[in-house]
Symmetry: C2
Subunit: 329 residues, 2 copies
């Protein structure tokens, strides 16, 4: 099986790469080739049995997609995107990458499929940003798409194209709407959602973190490990079970900031919790108030997608995967 990851240099892309190189199989087939693509060439992992390539490519260039799929990958993970904040600041860049770039990939596959039998599985990472407030307390599987950002708009359009190209038989698409990934490894960043991770990640290693919202703020989370699990399951599931509805809300954990903090206390003690400094930020509070708080992801759960069920588990996964299995002394 030939596998391609577009957006392989990102956090989830790197973890997915590591997982595939580790198992060397996907959907019961041996991985013979792994093409890693991103706007900068992704790092190439050690993988004795797999031919690995790393390519720097700008998917907003109309000529690129046909070249990318020249080797006819059987499985394409499309994770590449201009993130929410940047797509909001740079209207044209967001549409160029998130809409046109995605559509060029679909079109290249369609053209290939008219030349020879070709219908790759195409796993598309979408986002809960396809939904916009006001929300019901729990968003169900049939709630309408009314994004309130250009990023969410572009993802919702990608989903619609994915469905139509799948229905037409050009590709075999699965769109997965990821929860906010928590705990995101790495340095603090300026994303409005960054504090959900940093209020846990920094105290776990003895550093201070700022909480810019009230503790009763509720949000929708899944770990990086769960995100990789979603991608692998989307690659392996029987799409006949999806019918015409190719886009799915992934399961996750709905939790308040207070619940996150209590989980931190149970795992790392009062001292860790004392490193969280509450500095209300009206702008971040306002942004976050427009975000989804909870989902009833029944359909994805019935299809076998799995997420964490407690923040203790999410914190322990971070300790296992990022801190070598234990808190620093």
């Amino acid at each position: 099986m030939k596998v391609m990851i577009i957006g392989a240099a990102g956090m989830v892309g790197r973890k997915l790469t590591t997982a595939l190189v580790g198992t060397e199989t996907l959907a019961g087939r041996v991985i013979s080739r792994l093409d890693l693509v991103d706007v900068i060439a992704p790092e190439t992992p050690d993988a004795s049995g797999i031919e690995v390539t790393a390519t720097a490519a700008d998917i907003s260039d109309p000529a690129v997609a046909a070249k990318l799929i020249e080797n006819r990958p059987d499985m394409i993970f499309h994770l590449a995107a201009i993130v929410s904040g940047e797509a909001e600041l740079d209207f044209e860049k967001g549409y160029a990458i998130n809409l046109d770039g995605t559509r060029y990939l679909f079109e290249a596959i369609r053209h290939a499929s008219t030349e020879e039998p070709y219908c790759p599985r195409f796993v598309f990472t979408s986002s809960i940003a396809v939904f916009g407030a006001p929300f019901p307390d729990r968003i169900g599987d049939e709630f309408f798409q009314t994004p309130r950002t250009s990023y969410g708009t572009q993802k919702a359009i990608g989903e619609l194209l994915l469905s139509d190209y799948s229905r037409r038989g050009f590709l075999d698409g699965v769109g997965i709407r990821l929860p906010t990934i928590c705990i995101r490894p790495g340095k603090p960043n300026k994303a409005a959602s960054g504090f959900f991770s940093s209020i846990l990640r920094e105290p776990l290693v003895g550093q201070e973190a700022v909480l810019p919202v009230d503790a009763d703020v509720r949000h929708w989370h899944a770990s990086p490990r769960a995100a990789v699990g979603f991608l692998l399951h989307a690659a392996e599931l029987d799409t006949a079970e999806l019918g015409a509805r190719r886009n799915l809300n992934m399961p996750g954990l709905s939790a308040t900031v207070a619940e996150q903090i209590e989980a931190l206390r149970r795992v790392a003690g009062d001292k860790a919790v004392s490193l969280i400094r509450h500095e209300p930020d009206p702008m971040i509070t306002e942004i976050v108030s427009g975000w989804a708080r909870d989902f009833d992801a029944s359909r994805a759960i019935a299809l076998g997608f799995k997420a964490e069920t407690s923040f203790d588990e999410i914190i322990r996964i971070h300790i296992d995967d990022e801190l070598g299995g234990h808190l620093p002394d």
Copy 2:
């Protein structure tokens, strides 16, 4: 006020033109200019006080949109589309007109609005084809968009772009999802939905009509007069009331074929009804079984959109508007 109708040569476009030329005002302002655009040059109506232009233009040509809006219309009605059946048969043509053509218009307006203050009202005719079976008995205002045709996909994407361009302040969009228009004037056509009109239209003038489905089939209707009313109301309403949700299910009348036939009997008698010949067509029956049957269009109704409440009324409107006010002797 400068008004543009794109898709002015179609049935609804012609009726909208007639209405505007009749009132000479829109949203309380005098219409000074009316630009009629279609793939073939629309007929120019007599209109003494209004400067009327008729232009043949292919909106799938990227250079066309900027030219069309050179005079900065204050009000744009975008009705142009490749219809459902053709968009399904010709994948590329459907996307070229319904997606790219619509996006080029939005982009031309955005570019214009960055040069000078410009934010036209943009009324976009969408369709209940943005929804796909399985449906609830009544589709509510927050039901998700899962089109099962390329046409429905293209309309759903147009809606998303309309919302995002409105949110960004490039234009002031209102998307209206029209019910099936009944009674469509003119000759019988091969559209799968054609019989909903022809089983009334033909018997009203003493001609036979074929009913290809069972009489218990339920569907969602509004008259051509109601459709023009929706467009005018969308042009005039205060979009502050819409908030971020710019796309609306229009009100309509949910009726079974049997209810249509009983209305025909009340208005035109048993003899008219006897002209309907039941010839079940499995293909049409199958297609129609995937269509929406009923909507709870509360939001549009609260915003002042109005449709018919009985098929007697729909038939009488046809008699008034198409048959000179009375049945032929």
